[in-house]
Point group: C2
Chain length 284, copies 2
């Protein structure tokens, strides 16, 4: 008997991963959480039947979500991570000695506890003394924050279910207020390839553009996400992700990475023409 | 009844595309050729059960294989395309008025004729008066050529079956001799993600590095290829793909593209650290 995990990327496209063992399955108050041991990708975390993290390629996502802002502003001290229950973003952030405080606000404690137990590759630094875990709604959490964080990372699921409120203009406004003058917002920005994903991407981008002075998008290759072509948003009150990069300074830190480097930092902001056109589309 | 085309990306990963109609199927002397009408990707050409071209994303592949060298050397006049039976590379090349001659050497006439009939989106410019079609073995074709082409594009299948000889050092040496002083070789360079593909990529790269003075690699997002993370090689006798780029000159041509632009030209040569390390690996 063969066991396969299959994700529908659209109604007409399926991606299937051969499973050694279905290790964990739980319905939390928010969502369905499953962990599989797979042949090709190591451990696989899915939420509501969608790939969130695999051990083989999580480094791409977590390095690109954290090192890009940190290389632009190495003076970042206070960080807020919204979502990111697998712990991978926090793992990368804790590598920076400069960072004094990381608040991680994850609505679903079950995600964190299951990853701590079964995917320590990502959930290995949640006990760092600078990290405070809040099992709360990130949307509410930022409502009363002001001038408090140098970096907010929205490491969310897609804009359905608990993730939906993380793609609203009210939320982006609250993030703006919660950020310091040199603050940076990084958010999961969906994909430009399949229609459903690209619609969400266009909507999210239009809203962020209305709130932040600087609003850019960068891309990366993550093969286990639909199409493998994924985007993060970079927004700030003035800092530019390219002009603000001090490559020598970041390289002097000596951090060993597998995907991120200061060349791909710059290169990832160069977008295909069809993506640029989508981001400029004001009709959505 | 539902019809699905499934490709095994590895023994443990499958990619499936819902099919409206299986339009064409033929075993040529070289390989098995099939064309499907699909819901998500339009027409789909497969060879020996592997995705070669889909109408939805062929523009990525064909723009990146042709415009990168053309933007580096706008004086290119004589071009050799090896493989490329779907016609997409030739379609992009014929947009350059400067080009005087395009020799396309495709071993399998059945690929060309089936694409002319069923995928005119790519095979629409093979009757351009500058194009000469040779249904021959590209490996033999370049053996006696000397100082003849400004650009050679190796638009090949993977290094199995008829494509195998296009990944040998003898072939790269013959290309070198066939190229003019400012000549450029672009070749299909496989993917860094799955082990089988990345092994081929490392091998091919090591050989090209031994033959050409300049040997670089650039990447692009093509969702219907395994992992969606694909590479082309850029090799020359001295011209550098970044320093040699005259962005203003290319932009002045006014060519409308969907993926390529002069920013992504530069950005695509910035590679993830794990890819750079693979390309430097001398043990393969």
């Amino acid at each position: 008997m063969e066991l396969w995990y299959t994700e529908n990327h659209t109604d007409n496209v399926k991606f299937s991963i051969k499973v050694k063992e279905h290790i964990y399955s739980k319905k939390s108050p928010f969502q369905q959480i499953d962990i599989f041991e797979t042949y090709e990708f190591g451990k696989l975390l899915t939420i509501d039947g969608l790939v969130m993290v695999t051990e083989k390629d999580e480094f791409v996502y977590h390095e690109m979500i954290s090192h890009v802002p940190m290389a632009v502003n190495p003076n970042i001290q206070n960080v807020l991570v919204i979502g990111g229950g697998d712990g991978g973003s926090v793992r990368e952030l804790t590598r920076y000695k400069n960072i004094k405080k990381i608040d991680m606000v994850e609505i679903d404690e079950v995600v964190v506890r299951s990853c701590e137990q079964y995917i320590p590759q990502t959930a290995c630094k949640l006990n760092d003394e600078r990290v405070s875990l809040y099992f709360e709604d990130g949307i509410k959490f930022v409502e009363d924050k002001e001038n408090e964080y140098d970096l907010i990372i929205v490491d969310s699921t897609d804009p359905v279910g608990p993730g939906e409120g993380l793609f609203t203009i009210e939320f982006y406004r609250n993030c703006y207020r919660a950020l310091t003058k040199n603050g940076i917002l990084i958010n999961q920005h969906e994909s430009p390839y399949y229609e459903r994903d690209s619609k969400e991407m266009k909507r999210a981008h239009r809203k962020i553009k209305n709130v932040f002075e600087v609003s850019k998008v960068y891309q990366f290759h993550i093969p286990t996400y639909p199409s493998g072509h994924w985007l993060f948003g970079f927004a700030s009150k003035g800092i530019d992700p390219i002009k603000g990069l001090d490559a020598n300074k970041w390289n002097a830190l000596g951090l060993k990475t597998k995907y991120y480097n200061t060349d791909i930092h710059v290169g990832s902001f160069a977008l295909p023409t069809f993506v640029k056109e989508m981001l400029e589309d004001e009709t959505v």
